[in-house]
């Protein structure tokens, strides 16, 4: 009889009360010895917990490094958005990291959408607004 072993846990983005807790699991033994791989794709990131974009930027600065994602680099109207994790891929060897977070906010109907109206008073809307961070 063959048995599979899994390592389960949570990846926490953010800190304190404002954080995203992402449930992850890794298969044991790994496909490549010595390298555990995490692949996460949110089913409905709009409905998940959201984090202020500033908090997310702080987390990125602390954990990935300064300048990777700077809140102030965003247009002013984007600095008040929230992020929702869409995908995450990391390998414990530390050589491959990718994540995509949606940027969005709650609309008048109180549902969270990954949309952004970049110009105040001008009805141009970007949908599927996403920040991709990738290790190179």
């Amino acid at each position: 009889m063959q048995y599979n072993a899994m390592v389960r846990g949570q990846i926490v983005i953010g800190s304190g009360e404002e954080k995203l807790s992402i449930p992850v699991s890794m298969k044991l033994p790994p496909d490549q010895p010595g390298s555990l791989v995490v692949d996460y794709t949110a089913d409905k990131p709009e409905d998940a917990t959201h984090l202020e974009v500033g908090k997310f930027a702080d987390w990125v600065e602390q954990n990935l490094g300064p300048g990777v994602f700077d809140k102030t680099a965003l247009p002013q109207s984007a600095q008040n958005l929230e992020v929702a994790l869409k995908t995450l891929h990391l390998e414990t060897t530390g050589t491959n990291f990718e994540m995509a977070v949606l940027l969005g906010s709650k609309g008048a109907d109180n549902t969270w959408k990954a949309e952004w109206k970049p110009v105040s008073g001008f009805p141009l809307t970007l949908v599927d607004v996403t920040v991709d961070i990738k290790q190179v």
């Binding site: 983005i13 680099a73 984007a78 060897t93 970007l126 949908v127 996403t130 920040v131 991709d132």
Partner: protein
């Protein structure tokens, strides 16, 4: 678990981040991206991922701003090909830019001849004015253009030009021909504001006037710039504008009719095919009211300015100046005729009489001999042309009139073509009046010499009789006699004094004989004396006059021509003269008589031609040529006769006549014959000498 990223090689990992999103416009998706980090704010940018209808894109764009798109019916179907319309979102706002291919000919059906291509959309959330830049083609010009929307409606198509030929716009877009005005070049009025050639659909918008219009243009007339605008409506075009300053030619200034600080206003006179300037006229420093001046661009032969100066009041001694002028840069200023009636200038006749050359020493006239209430007036016609060094050349012709006690006693032609130059520092009426006086004064000696010319004794008689205090003292009569001049009236021993006549009649001698003898003694020919005799003795009939002339002037009435000439001078009707001559000369040769009649009594058409040439103030030489050309069968004698009788100012003697005949092509023999026929007092040797002198000095 906490995430901590590191790698086994312990080197610091590096990351890239990117922001992306999608915009949907006109059924096309735009995938916008921006690489992070950036130092000055992210700018997302992306293009259409599929072809996009221009109309759909415009529709969505204007609908974004709650307006309904309205494009004219002739607007073409245009497409933004894939990846040709770009949307950029930056901290400054949203910007759409891209180029749609295709072309729009004759936009709105109004801007005929214009083709638009490469519709370049450039829309910014910052000003939210929907506009398109376009490349345009108009004839050989490749201007840039723009399309402007007003709340979704395409209102304006405009192209900008640095310069354009007016005729090109009129012909291509309006189907109009304005003749010489077609050559006008429209240029920018301000380097920062090129010419606009546009159509505005509906009321004025965004600085554009309603309808078809070409504005922000300037033209140059007479070296002066005027701002103009061309508009068209209902098949009628209008060009209107205003000069930026007065048109100042120095002697002539055209200003605004209403004295505003701008120059004259202009419009188009389609009938004249010229620009019409409503101008205030200042000529030689005097404001002479307003006038309409026609203006045209330079051409080979035409004028650039043409107008009428019509003063309503006198200016100094000039009676209500009224004349038509033209001006062009090539030919300068020109006035064909400026009539200057009644120009006052009193001549000093004592001084002038004393200046007339004398054959022998005679004493001078003095002021007491001349009546005091003598005035001279001149009816002048001035021609004006541009002269050297920016001067104006006035050429004067006309008549003089001499008044005694306000009665006109003598009149006549001035020597032709008196000339004066008015220099730029003399462009005023005072200087002009002085110049005319100087010109007249310079010719006055010749004028008086002409008046006392013994060749025309009746004129001399009339002049001196009116000028000199009457009755003539013996001293004055001697002065006249000494000079060989003629004067009528009771001149002792020189006229038919009634008392003396009575005595003579008692002594058995008829008075006309005595008078004829006296006139001959003064050196007159029969032709010169005949009119005086007939004037004093009007009762003499043709037969008696023929007898009288034959008795006293046999040398100068020896041919039928000479006799008929004398009778003509005496005022004898031509038919009566011929009849009397034939009666008293039955043996006359037919050919000689016929030739004489043809000469003295030419066809009315000949007389008409002569009068025409006189009106033109043609010189004797020119008259000879034109008479010969008009009547090629005429002999040298016939033409010589016409010159002596009708052009005596320039053909006063045998040599002048011979020279004129030679100039018209007569040979030596013909000239000699004419002199022989018409100057009987000359001996054969003198005739030969004069004829030879006419052929000396070149062909």
């Amino acid at each position: 678990m906490l995430l901590s990223i590191s790698n086994k090689s312990s080197s610091i990992p590096s990351f890239v981040s990117r922001l992306r999103g999608t915009v949907r416009l006109g059924a096309a998706e735009f995938n916008l991206k921006a690489d992070l980090p950036v130092h000055e704010g992210a700018a997302l940018s992306g293009a259409n991922s599929s072809p996009l209808s221009f109309k759909h894109a415009i529709s969505d764009l204007v609908e974004l701003t709650d307006f309904s798109p309205q494009l004219p019916g002739d607007f073409p179907d245009l497409f933004f090909e894939e990846d040709t319309l770009r949307i950029t979102v930056s901290p400054g706002g949203a910007l759409l830019s891209g180029t749609a291919a295709g072309e729009w000919k004759n936009p709105f059906g109004v801007l005929k001849g214009l083709t638009l291509r490469n519709f370049q959309l450039n829309y910014s959330s910052a000003n939210r004015t929907l506009g398109l830049a376009v490349d345009a083609e108009f004839g050989s010009a490749r201007p840039k253009g723009r399309l402007l929307f007003d709340r979704g409606k395409l209102r304006i198509v405009a192209v900008t030009l640095d310069e354009i030929n007016l005729g090109s716009i009129l012909a291509k877009s309006l189907g109009i021909v304005w003749g010489p005005l077609n050559a006008l070049i429209l240029r920018v009025r301000d380097p920062a504001e090129p010419i606009r050639f546009y159509y505005c659909d509906g009321p004025a918008y965004a600085g554009y006037e309603e309808g078809f219009r070409v504005d922000q243009a300037a033209i140059e007339i007479a070296g002066h710039r005027a701002e103009v605008a061309l508009s068209a409506a209902g098949g009628t075009a209008t060009l209107a504008g205003r000069f930026l300053s007065d048109i100042d030619l120095g002697f002539l200034r055209l200003s605004a009719a209403d004295d505003s600080r701008m120059g004259p206003a202009l419009s188009v006179d389609e009938a004249e095919r010229a620009l019409r300037l409503d101008a205030g006229i200042t000529f030689l420093g005097e404001r002479l009211g307003t006038s309409t001046v026609a203006a045209r661009p330079p051409s080979a032969n035409g004028y650039e300015l043409r107008g009428e100066i019509r003063a309503t009041t006198d200016v100094l001694v000039f009676k209500t100046p009224d004349f038509i002028f033209t001006w062009s840069k090539a030919k300068g200023f020109h006035v064909d005729t400026w009539a200057m009636p009644d120009f006052p200038f009193d001549l000093s006749f004592v001084e002038l009489l004393n200046k007339v050359p004398m054959r022998s020493a005679c004493g001078p006239f003095s002021s007491e001999m001349v009546k005091q209430s003598i005035h001279t007036r001149f009816d002048l016609k001035a021609r004006i042309d541009s002269g050297p060094e920016s001067a104006l050349r006035f050429t004067l012709n006309g008549r003089y009139r001499i008044f005694v006690d306000q009665d006109e006693v003598v009149s006549g032609q001035l020597p032709p073509n008196l000339t004066l130059l008015l220099k730029p520092d003399e462009f005023n009426f005072t200087a002009l009046a002085n110049g005319i006086r100087d010109a007249i004064h310079g010719s006055a000696t010749a004028l008086v010499q002409q008046l006392v010319d013994p060749t025309f004794p009746e004129r001399s008689t009339q002049f001196l009789g009116a000028l000199l205090v009457q009755p003539l003292p013996e001293e004055v009569a001697n002065l006249i006699r000494c000079r060989g001049w003629s004067v009528a009236g009771p001149v002792p021993t020189s006229g038919p004094d009634p008392a003396a006549s009575a005595t003579s009649e008692r002594e058995g001698e008829a008075t006309p004989d005595r008078y004829a003898r006296e006139l001959r003694r003064r050196g007159m020919t029969a032709q010169q004396a005949a009119s005086l005799i007939a004037g004093v003795y009007p009762a003499l009939g043709p037969a008696d006059l023929i007898s009288l002339l034959r008795r006293h002037y046999p040398e100068t009435v020896g041919t039928p021509l000479l006799m008929l000439w004398a009778l003509d001078r005496a005022g004898v009707p031509r038919e009566s003269a011929a009849q009397a001559f034939l009666t008293r000369t039955p043996d006359v040769k037919d050919a000689a008589f016929s030739a004489a009649v043809k000469t003295v009594d030419p066809h009315p058409r000949v007389e008409q031609t002569v009068k025409h040439l006189q009106r033109l103030q043609t010189s004797g030489l020119q008259a000879a040529r034109q008479l010969k050309a008009a009547f090629p069968t005429f002999s040298a004698t016939q033409i010589g006769y016409l010159l002596l009788v009708h052009f005596s100012q320039t053909v006063p003697d045998a040599r002048a006549m011979g020279t004129a005949l030679r100039g018209m092509g007569a040979n030596y023999r013909q000239v000699r014959t004419a002199i022989y026929d018409l100057f009987p007092v000359l001996s054969p040797a003198e005739v030969e000498a004069v004829a030879r002198s006419c052929f000396q000095g070149g062909p």
